[in-house]
Amino acid sequence: MASANQPDVLRGTLDLLILKTLTLEPMHGWGISARIQQFSKGVLDVNQGSLYPALQRLEQRGCIESEWRTSDNNRRAKYYRLTASGRRAVGAETANWRRYVDAVELILGIA
């Protein structure tokens, strides 16, 4: 559930979060957004409007694949799964992110 003080996921980081989430298991869109919210202990709320285009983008880049499957509650849902190159991307992107955060920390720490 959304509330005003929850920050949206930063645009650039959404892809990384999706990929990281999908390392656990194939999931559908809602599942991904729920997981991200859950893991971030409710801090991060995925903007639904950008989730689906992001999934589409990742699929075109070949990082994920999708297929229609029956969900736990017996309804048709589109499941996304990490591909090999997606798996590689998670590693690289994570490293990038760490470097970025460290850099930001350094700057913030100056004051």
């Binding site: 869109g29 809602w30 639904q48 950008s50 689906y52 880049r61 589109k78 090999a84 190159s85 997606g86």
Partner: protein, 895 residues
Amino acid sequence: MGIISGLRARLRALFRRTSADRELNEEIHFHIELETEKNVRLGLSRDEARRLAISHFGGVQRVREEHRDVRRLQWIEDFIGDGRFAFRSLRRTPALAGAAIITLALGIGANVAIFSAVNAVVLRPLPFPSSDRLMMITEENPEKHWHLNVAAPANLLDWREGVADFEDVAGYTDGAGQTTLTGRGDPQLLNGTFVTGNFFATLGVHPQLGRLFTWDESWLAQRTQAVGQPDTRPHVVVLSDRAWREHFGSDPGIVGKSIVLSGTSYQIVGITPPGFSYPVEGIDVWRSVEWNPAIRGAVEFRRPHWLRAIARLKPGVTESHANAQLQAVVERLKREYPGTNKYMGAAMMPLHEFLIGDTRLPLLILLTSVAFLLLIACANVGNLLLVQAAGREREASLRLALGAGRGRLVRQAIAESLVLSMLGGACGLAAGWAGTRALVRLQPEGLLNVSNFGVDQAVLAYVVLISLASGLIFGVAPAFWARHRDPAEALKSGGRGAGQSGHAKRWGDLLVISEVALALLMTVGAGLLVRSFWQVRHVDPGFDSRGVLTVRIGLSRAYDTSSKILGFQNQLIDRAHAIPGVTNVAMTTSLPLNGPAYTSDFIAYGRPAGDYGTEVSNRTVSPDYFATLHVPLKRGRVFTSDDQQNTTPVLVINEALAQSYFKGQDPIGQRFAFDKVPTPKTTWYTIIGIVGNEHVDGLDIAPRPEVFHSLIQEAYPYFTLMVRTNGDAASLTSSVRAIVRSLDPSLALLGVITLDRVREDSLARVRFLTTMLLGFAVIGLVLSVVGVYGVLAQVSRNRTREMGIRIALGAPAGRVRWLVVRQGLRLTIAGLALGTVAALLTTRAMAKLLFQVTPTDPATLIGVSLLLAATSILAAWIPALNASRADPAVTLRSD
């Protein structure tokens, strides 16, 4: 793998756009549903939960759009969008689109038809395995002015034995001879040729039934010759697939059976595969030459030249290497046989090149002509689009002002052109296909060696190529127009939708000028050919072709003595004379315009050694030949029935020979022989008369020196009967047939044709080319006139206001009309000047096809220019008339 699946997703998305949208919808629904359930679990009412879920999701439409943006292959979508837009805008102006497509279809159709011919004759390889290794060997003799000549059998055999680079060398008689098939109902005429036993193997042809000839079959058996016994092997024949079907009902058991050809029995040994016909179309039977091995060293085997020689190079051998070996053999033969071979050279060229031969130039000229036609069509369509663009000025300006990219507008213009050109191309392909059929029917026999050409992949590729190219060509003008538009300018004046911008006008002018120039070029080319054709047609052939029916007759081997042949011929003459209306009857071994029967060296008695001549044409004729064809006797006498086999051999010569060889002497009474150097065995003839010159080789080729032998003194079983009547020659056909049948029922007439027809047929090629070129030129001319009209109509529309004011101020109608016509004239004259310069530079290429007309013939140039100027004024007149009728009240009010 990731990339591939990604690409697959993109493509799937592109082509299944709606299904992708549907999937997304389903996904969103699913999402909202789960969210709703979550909210319900948190204690909200169902409605409230759903509302919250939807609002949390954000704008569904925005997600869809973004989703689409990501997945589409932007440029293809844009392209399709442009195409759709183009279609729509073309549908809005069906008259314009129709005119453009018809114009293009004409241009492209003409190109398709001509290109199919070029493709079939020039581009497609010969239908033989490794056909690039097949060479034509011709004899070249500077002394006799021989070029690409047929070979003497002995020379051919020496090349075959002496050149190691040749896998094999085969010979065949050129063209199709005719033979009579008897013993199966009515006598049938078949086309046949004689070949050496290795002919099929050299070409690489395999039988569909039975076997083909072997090398041994070229020779009468040596073994039996040695003991003086005749060769007991049967004569052999190979049938074409067509003959097998048409004359023998595709009898599968035909191999081994016998047929009678011109009175001789032949055993059928095999059938060639379907479609094979060489050296010309329509061959029914191939027979093997049958040489006596004893003749191999004889001069009679080296003097007559009658075989075409094809060689197959060994794999990996270069043409030049083989040629060097060939020349070595040629030099050796020159030394060993100076009597016959002193000046006898040989040349080698790829067989394909030889077969294309002199078809290349006419095809090239036709191809150029249709290319011009297409360019004119493009200019016209470009013009139409410009006019249309001008009409849509406001729309385009508005779009520009509202922020549409200029690039986008240019692309739009090009898309419209491409859609048009593709539609035009499709219609053109259909038109071209029909044109190809027509071309096959209309072409004179032998112009295009392949008669079964049609639309294949190469032609399709060519259509796509020229359609695209023409789309780009005529799309350039409107595209530039789109680029250079200044919205502020256009909107300022846009209220009236008036004046074309300077750019558009300049493009329009340029199009008209180039159209007129191209039309001039085409028409001059056609005009030159027409003039040349006119000249050739009015050449005095030296004989009177009206009212003469000719019948080619070949007697069978049953007529094996002179007296039998003469007996038949005398009876034939007597019977033919008895036909009502017949005034003269004669016979000859070769008709005028059909070439000499043979040519030979010659010398007159008493001339110093070396004062001989070469290449005199020999024909053998009956005494009435000259009277029948109205060939005038200049001096002396012609043959009579007193010139018999046991009297002095006599000759009649023509004026050309008298003037070239007997300058300043009286030839009559002189003795004449067919040798360079007389020997005691030489036969001396006495010249008894001089007759007028006849065109032997063609109307466009000057008469050559000729001698005539008497058909009584030298009997030939193959001859042509000529019957002159006061009435219609063709009407004699049935009576002549009946006479021949009554004399010998086993004879088929090898060809019944009036002499007028012979004369016309000798012009078939040039007539064909002239007609085609003239047809294209007329289309080009009409298109260019339409182009001039189109531009001026636009001009006069744009200046309606101005004209209205002028008229209101009292300008006379004539003056207003002149304003428009003047503009048309200005463009036309510029076009004519440009076209004339181009014509002066390029028509030289046609020189070889012209007869007594120079490629820069001033009469043609001036005539064509005047014609074009006149038609342009005519085209300008209608818009001028409209302009002069501008009603000031109306035009001024419409402001």
